[in-house]
Amino acid sequence: MTAIDQSRGLPVGSMGRRANGWWGMITLIATEGALFVYLLFSYFYIAVQHGREWLPPDLPSLSLSIPNTVILLVSGVAVWRGESLLIAGRRGPIVAIHILAALVLGLAFISLEGWEWSMEKLTPASGSFGSLYFMLGALHLAHLVIGALILAALALWSALGYFDARRSAPVSIGALYWYFVIVVWLAVFFTLYITPRLSLG
């Protein structure tokens, strides 16, 4: 192995991907990702026990879920932009505004999903499809609420000027979680809203 260079300066404290928190977030995402893998497994396991008649006559509606998907993707762009500005050396309000924008979009998603559920004829107790539909949605929503709280804290801390180009680890770590929540939504959306519409013949 190569000899260890003794003269090199080392960064001090939480620095980007060198922060333990960044590694910790990776482990959190791994375990939460596994949770959704098991949820989707449960959905498809139950689905294959039945035929087409397992699905409700009115499939979960696309009219709100597609705009919602777009909203969530845009929120991801906003977080990414805020993080990039911070790492590029911008500070304070401009970063906070981007994170705040993502937070507002996240809250819009939550409201729209709540509205969609209020119009849904299914209930969690109406059968196994309803149970899975609401459990998948609710567990994703729970993660989204946590993500929104993280964004709120990050927006506040950015506005207080806590972060700069080198002390940006909390923003990067929080952003990672938000991207994860978005990716999970894409899987949930595809499963609940798209696969029932795929015809096998």
Partner: protein, 649 residues
């Protein structure tokens, strides 16, 4: 801290445990006295010992439950306990031993040893470490609270639906279990994350991943496994709870659910769990057995790869618990094949230990006795496992006492024996005193004989058709003598455990003073005083081989390991982060001070779970809100931890 800094070229100094540097580190790292200090400490050694004590307490509780069952089963047609009580006893016994003893005891050793063997000042996330202990304690007490409510889980540790559904099980029994396991899962998950990041980031410079002690490989491997497997069981119990309380239909066949979904989710978790509770124990034996064979372990790389392969394959064999459920032929064939294949990486470790003993010069200490017993029982438990990997024999053996015998050979053989040996090895490090060798050997023989008297005949009980989980049996069907022998053996085993604990208590008071390295061990923990000071190392050690303390004898190092010259990192609580593979210095980390936040958040979560259990929704809401508020304060960026920009004063 006066001036914040972004970069530093670390100086290198000579220092020992008597230096001025050591005294200033002691002041920086020590835990404050009193109740507040006790609650808020984040010292991994303190937390490790708490894990050990708590897990042993649960071992005793589970043991008492087992003894009551053995009295009940000693003779046919007994009425010591009612059938319902018997159901609760075997359920609580399984839950206690498998979830509240078997992994937490290993987490105790790992928490204590990780920073010491890796040459670090603490775990990667010290507060999270305290949190994982408090949650473990709270969730264990939560599940044992079911005794006070006279609603103990009563469907066995694997808790099959539909018996666990409300229709058949209306009390709080299952709710205690369901919510308790989700609660415990939080502890397991955050603890696992901590081990993984510590392993990847907190090693001494020069300790590339082919130089770390095997016990850290074992624990890290199973921690990755936990991260991927624990969500399955949390989800299974969440489904169960909503089925019971909110009328969902995950497991109810009449509304489109499927009871086998429970079994899939449960075993996807619980089969890897078998490896989770043995691989760290195997790792400890792989590290400590060479102390007593006076040579390095034979086949380090093979054992590490075997560990990882076992865990990976462990995710592909869950269906062998479901051979009798009518699954398709192809699934039977695949999972039976995988169950045979998994014996290969397991056998690698056994052959390595045997070769280490064979080619070494064994010193037959008490610890060596336990390790040798461990190897013997592993082989027996492994072979009875292979028998059930075969579908036809499993169809005959499943749900009989043969399976009970098998699981006890695996769990007592590979977990308990390794743990009792490992405590002999590291007790001097933890307490500064040696355990008695004489009492240790006496306790070994009583435990070993008692265990085999109890469980070897049990294979026959199973082969002769006695089903598990029946509270009694009629006379004259051929099980009377075997059950009496097993019950006698169980009490011999219990006496052995009492002798062992007596040894611990006596040695704590009057054992011989150990000194830093009583076993002439090769790894970094043996460079520290016994017990080690709160900061572990006065300077960060630098590692040049797998066996830093044996380098002068083995001549296998590139350069020389150093533990008396290195980085002091004494500007506040600091530790070194190194790169994941090569172990090169990567960053200087600011470590958190002691904090009551983990304890307070645990109290808030406990209130939340009690609210969910009793359906006191305001309490659940208050618990959740307090948890989130506590986490916010916990994670608030601090200047002392170098999480804030400099200009923001």
């Amino acid at each position: 801290m006066t001036v914040a800094e972004y970069d530093r070229v670390p100086e290198r100094v000579d220092s020992g445990y008597e230096s001025a540097l050591a005294h200033s580190l002691e002041e920086t790292w020590e835990t404050k006295p009193g109740l507040y200090g006790w609650i808020s400490t984040v010292d991994h050694k303190e937390i490790g010992v708490r894990y050990l004590v708590t897990a042993f307490a649960f071992l005793v509780a589970g043991g008492v439950e087992a003894l009551i069952m053995r009295v009940q089963l000693a003779r046919p047609n007994q009425n010591l306990v009612a059938p319902e009580t018997y159901n609760e006893l075997f359920s609580l016994h399984g839950i206690t031993m498998i979830f509240l003893y078997a992994l937490p005891i290993l987490s105790g050793f790992s928490n204590y040893l990780f920073p010491l063997v890796l040459g670090s000042r603490d775990m990667a996330f010290p507060r999270l470490n305290a949190f994982s202990y408090w949650i473990y304690l709270a969730s264990g007490l939560f599940m044992y609270g079911s005794i006070l409510a006279t609603a103990v889980p009563n469907d066995g540790w694997y808790n099959f639906a539909p018996y666990s559904l409300r229709q058949f099980n209306p009390g709080l029994n299952m709710d205690f279990y369901a919510l308790g396991m989700i609660f415990l899962g939080i502890s397991t998950t955050v603890g696992s994350a901590n081990f993984v990041v510590t392993f990847l980031r907190m090693r001494a410079p020069g300790m590339s991943i082919n130089r770390v002690p095997i016990l850290t490989w074992g624990t890290t491997t199973i921690s990755v496994g936990n991260l991927l497997a624990v969500p399955a069981v949390s989800l299974a119990f969440l489904f169960l709870w909503t089925d019971r309380q909110f009328g969902t239909h995950f497991y109810t066949p009449e509304s489109g659910g499927h009871p086998l979904l429970w079994q899939h989710l449960f075993w996807i978790y619980a089969h890897p769990w078998v490896y989770v509770v043995v691989l760290p124990a195997m790792g400890m034996v792989s590290d400590a057995l060479p102390f007593f064979c006076r040579r390095p372990l034979v086949g380090y790389v093979a054992v590490v790869l075997g560990t990882i392969t076992t865990m990976t394959l462990g995710f592909g064999v869950w269906l062998h618990h479901m051979f009798a459920t009518g699954i398709p032929f192809l699934a039977l064939a695949f999972f039976s094949g995988a169950s045979f294949v998994i014996t290969i990486p397991s056998a690698v470790a056994v052959l390595s230990w045997v070769a280490t003993i064979w080619t070494g010069r064994p010193v037959t200490t008490a610890a060596f006795h336990f390790f040798a017993g461990f190897i013997a029982l592993f082989v027996i438990g492994g072979v009875s496992g292979v028998m059930t990997a075969s579908v036809p024999s499993d169809l005959q053996l499943t749900e009989t006492y043969f399976i009970v015998a098998h699981i006890h050979y695996v769990l007592i053989g590979i977990n308990v024996f390794a743990v009792l040996g490992a405590l002999h090895v590291w007790f001097p490090k933890m307490s500064g005193r040696m355990m008695s060798e004489t009492l240790g050997k006496i306790s070994f023989w009583i435990i070993f004989i008692g265990f085999n008297v109890a469980f070897l005949p049990m294979h026959l009980t199973g082969l002769w058709g006695m089903p598990r989980r029946i509270y009694t049996y009629p006379a004259g069907v051929g099980w009377d003598t075997l059950n009496m022998i097993t019950s006698v053996g169980a009490f011999i085993l219990a006496i052995g455990v009492i002798v062992y604990f007596a040894n611990v208590v006596i040695s704590l008071r009057s054992g011989r003073i150990a000194g830093p390295n009583p076993w002439d061990g090769p790894t970094l923990e043996w460079t520290t005083p016994s017990p080690p000071p709160p900061y572990n190392f006065p300077v960060i050690p630098q590692v040049a081989s797998r066996h830093p303390l044996w380098e002068s004898r083995l001549h296998d190092s590139v350069g020389e390991s150093q533990w008396r010259r290195g980085m002091p990192l004494d500007k506040g609580k600091e530790a070194l982060a190194t790169t994941a593979l090569d172990g090169l210095p990567d960053a200087i980390l600011k470590m958190p001070e002691d904090s009551p936040a983990p304890f307070i958040v645990t109290l808030a979560m406990t209130a939340g779970f009690v609210g969910l259990l009793l359906q006191i929704w305001w309490l659940a809401g208050v618990g959740a809100a307090a948890t989130l508020a506590g986490l916010l304060i916990w994670l608030w960026p601090e200047r002392e931890l170098a999480q804030r920009a400099e200009a923001a004063r």
